[in-house]
């Protein structure tokens, strides 16, 4: 059984999705989806275990060897991403599709879309075939557009529509890049690509292919100038969807970037010949500052979180652009850490939306006494965003600054520390509103239900726990980076 885990990891959610459409019974569908996400979490943890033992777990579909068949290849890096995706899914899904436009009795539509999105993301992360990546990316993206459009605000539809356009452009760019690579090498398998590209690397076609693929991935990842779809999408989607997407979708895109740069093309080519860091470093730094500054001026809590995500993505790509093992590890560990913090914060937004009816910051006045548990969850997760020691945010900051110092990149070190101070401003604005401002007249004091609070607090407490226990996060990230950079470079 356990040798089929790579296949089950993806097939389970993808096949359950149509099953949900057939079953239609709300409770049944709900329980089934939950069981699937929990099962996927178990599988991803088992895969992580296997990958740590043998290096790379290879699974050939239908026993067709490559390049004929499709191959799944799990090493520490994508096992880590699989764990992040399935963990967040298992934690947030119990909340379900409250606060959305989904009419009663048709919840199964939400669950099947969610499972498709979930399965697609897992597929992107697990597969060892670049065309397969594109296919799964489209599956997850199409499901994502549906999920975003379910937001209870009519603006959600517009947000989904504009994301659809931009996302399709991104996918097309990626496809063009993949096509050009196929043209040059005649293979779609990642391991084969890495070998065969050695001889043709310096050709213009491969350089163009790289450029197309990077732009395509950057759109999905929302790297700074290509980030415009993100704030609207995250703001108007249902809270559970925002929490899930912010914690997983961009993470998978980041993983793709790692895979293309380190495994397929090789760091030597990307950074020394093409000098990709000359573009990526300034863009990352700009994202850190512009994203945080924009977050400071937002009037809506969810929108603030969305802009903060853009800044956090800047930290991840900065780690990548440092072109070192420490830098890549800092980026990888931040995937996990950011997923916990931002997922938790979006769930807090969900609690607020449920009880207050809006996520405008002015409506959060006096939340400290109206919803003490929700407000304190926000405080703890917010301290993580600032990077206070004892939270995961500090671990990320520590790893990233260590990586920058290791390369004697003094300016970058200073900029990282300064930009993290901007987080203090936007988090503290919320805290002042919640604790130091009187609640509006007639506001009811009512805490969110346990169904919301438990997932929120799981993520928040995890963000403290992993602030102290870094062996299973930073330790794994370092191992992953070592494997990634050592395998091909």
């Amino acid at each position: 059984m356990s040798e089929h885990f790579p296949a089950l990891q993806v097939l389970l959610p993808v096949l359950t999705a149509p099953l949900c459409l057939l079953l239609r019974h709300p409770t049944l569908v709900r329980v089934l989806s939950l069981a699937v996400t929990v099962g996927c979490l178990g599988i991803s943890l088992a895969l992580m275990e296997q990958a740590r033992e043998v290096g790379t777990v290879v699974y050939e579909f239908g026993n067709w060897p490559r390049p004929l068949g499709i191959e799944y290849a799990v090493d520490t890096t994508n096992a880590f991403v699989l764990v992040i995706v399935s963990m967040i899914a298992a934690v947030v899904l119990p909340i379900g599709c409250r606060n959305s436009q989904v009419p009663e009795g048709r919840e199964y539509l939400f669950y099947s879309a969610f499972l498709l999105c979930f399965g697609g993301l897992l597929g992107v992360a697990i597969t060892g075939d670049v065309f397969n990546i594109f296919v799964f990316l489209e599956i997850s993206s199409l499901a994502t557009y549906i999920l975003i459009a379910m937001g209870r605000d009519r603006r959600a539809i517009m947000a989904a529509y504009s994301y659809l356009i931009v996302g399709t452009i991104g996918a097309t760019f990626l496809l063009i890049g993949i096509g050009l690579l196929y043209q040059m090498t005649g293979t779609l398998n990642i391991a084969d690509l890495a070998v065969r590209l050695e001889d043709v690397k310096e050709t213009r076609t491969v350089i163009v292919a790289f450029a197309f693929a990077m732009v395509g991935i950057s759109i999905k990842l929302a790297v700074l100038p290509l980030h415009h779809w993100l704030p609207n999408a995250y703001t108007h989607a249902p809270p559970v969807v925002s929490a899930f997407l912010s914690a997983t979708a961009t993470k998978v895109a980041y993983y793709l970037m790692l895979r293309f740069i380190y495994t397929i093309l090789g760091a030597g080519f990307v950074f020394d010949v093409l000098q990709f860091d000359v573009i990526l470093t300034p863009l990352s730094l700009a994202a850190m500052f512009i994203g945080s500054l924009a977050a400071i001026y937002q009037t809506d809590f969810k929108r603030l979180l969305a802009y903060s995500s853009i800044a956090q993505i800047g930290y991840m790509t900065l780690g990548l652009s440092l072109n070192s093992e420490l830098g890549a590890a800092a980026g990888i560990v931040h995937l996990f850490n950011h997923a916990l913090m931002k997922g938790g914060l979006f769930l807090v937004a969900g609690c607020v939306l449920l009880r207050v009816g809006s996520t405008a910051i002015v409506d959060m006045r006096g939340l400290g006494s109206r919803m003490p548990l929700t407000a304190s969850a926000l405080v703890i997760a917010g301290l993580g965003m600032i990077g206070v020691p004892g939270t995961v945010g500090f671990v990320s900051k520590w790893a990233l600054v260590s990586a920058a110092l290791d390369q004697q990149a003094w300016q970058i070190t200073v900029l990282i520390l300064l930009s993290s101070l901007l987080a203090l401003v936007y988090v503290w604005r919320l805290i002042e509103v919640m604790y130091l401002t009187e609640a509006p007249e007639g506001a009811e004091r009512r805490e969110a239900p346990p169904l919301y609070l438990i997932p929120t607090w799981i993520l928040v407490l995890a963000s403290v726990y992993f602030g102290f226990n870094t062996e299973s996060t930073l330790g794994v990230a370092r191992a992953a980076a070592h494997q990634l950079l050592g395998g091909a470079g």
């Binding site: 301290l383 600032i386 990077g387 206070v388 020691p389 004892g390 671990v395 900051k397 520590w398 600054v401 260590s402 110092l405 290791d406 070190t413 200073v414 520390l417 300064l418 993290s420 101070l421 203090l424 503290w428 002042e432 604790y435 130091l436 102290f468 226990n469 870094t470 930073l474």
Partner: protein, 483 residues
Amino acid sequence: MNEVLLSVMLPLCGAVLVAVTGRNANLRDAMTVVTSLVTFAVVASIAPQVMDGARPSAEVLQVLPGVSLAFRIEPLGMLFGLVASSLWIVTSIYAFGYMRGHHEANQTRFFVCFAIAISAALGIAFSANLFTLFLFYEAMTFSTYPLVTHHGTPEAKRAGRVYLGILVTTSVAFLLFAVLWTYSLVGHLEFRSGGILSGHIEGTALAILLGLFAFGLGKAALMPFHRWLPAAMVAPTPVSALLHAVAVVKAGVFSMVKILVYVFGIDFLHDSGASVWLMYLAAASILIASVRAIAMENLKARLAYSTISQLSYITLGAALATSSAVLGAGMHIAMHAVGKITLFFCAGAIYVAAHKSEISQLDGLGRRMPITFAAFFLGSLSIIGVPPTGGAWSKWYLALGAAEGHQLVFVFVLMLSSLLSIAYLMPIVVRGFFRPSPEGEEGGMQEASLAMVVPLSITAVGSVALFLFAPQLRELLLPVVGG
């Protein structure tokens, strides 16, 4: 459980107990007193071991390779721990009198945050490495923020922003940078006798690293990062007393001494001359803050500037990096704590009993509040540094240290600063006792409640008692300088 861990955890447990019993005010306040007594007993029980040369330690967990959450009690930390935990008892009692006498709201939150801040102070005191110190240093900043903004007024909110803005900015931009830099140079962050940096860094880079540490410790209120301290005076007086005369600011200067002694090493600093600029900056901070204090009309603001000036004594002592100077710096942590807390207690008592906060309103008040003003007088003597008060000894050692390091100009600075502190403290006593009361305010005794008068009397007597206990303090601290 290890008694080192116990002493850090106890105030946290106290915080939980206070939060749970919040509905019943008497029970809640009893919890605070009991916790503070037990905490002090535990801390005090460790002291004899440390005096005998033991270094009780506890490692909680390894967070990163070479970086762990760990405690190790050395003499300097023992001293700070004793000061913080003993004054917590007195301040708690005082706070009950103040908060009730003043009908403050949100008292439960107040005492919860107070206990957390004390736990953070003990964590800083007992930290075995820079990471642990940084962790508790930040915890203290965030746990005291609700205390500073306690009143929730726009003014308190503004002060809270200044407070958090300066303390977090300096700690993240400078202190964290310095910690990480040290880590990348040395590969670990342990505090060790003789320092860890020697041989890893030199020249300008060393001076820059020292600057990052010195300014990163914003709680030491070294100019130009001192503005948060006067701003924090908007808090209720017990907060100003314990936190902004003892725990918070002392956490800053204590960390300064600890880092200069155990990370840089005093011999390394002294030989490389990297800290000369810091001596001059500290001296400037001493004099400028003293002069500013004279100009302050508000009693608490004057005490705040006096604190800034006195804190720089300790920074100066550490920067001089001679054994007497470091000894003096360590002693001054205790001496100034007891003296200044007395002055703040008096300011609070005057505010609650007579509703006066400006110095010009104090005419003749000493005759109606003789105990308070007598205590104020004793506390002032200690701050000025004249016998028979503890402050005399620390100033003596500081001056001796300056002379040892052939930096006679700082002996002069210390003397001048004493004169200035006479100029800003004595007029208050003189007004209280010798000026006639304003029309219609004569009358009999009008002291604040016992819960306030007793603590301030205790600390006033304490600042005299420390004059007699100086030899013990010196003996405790001698191993710090390798004597």
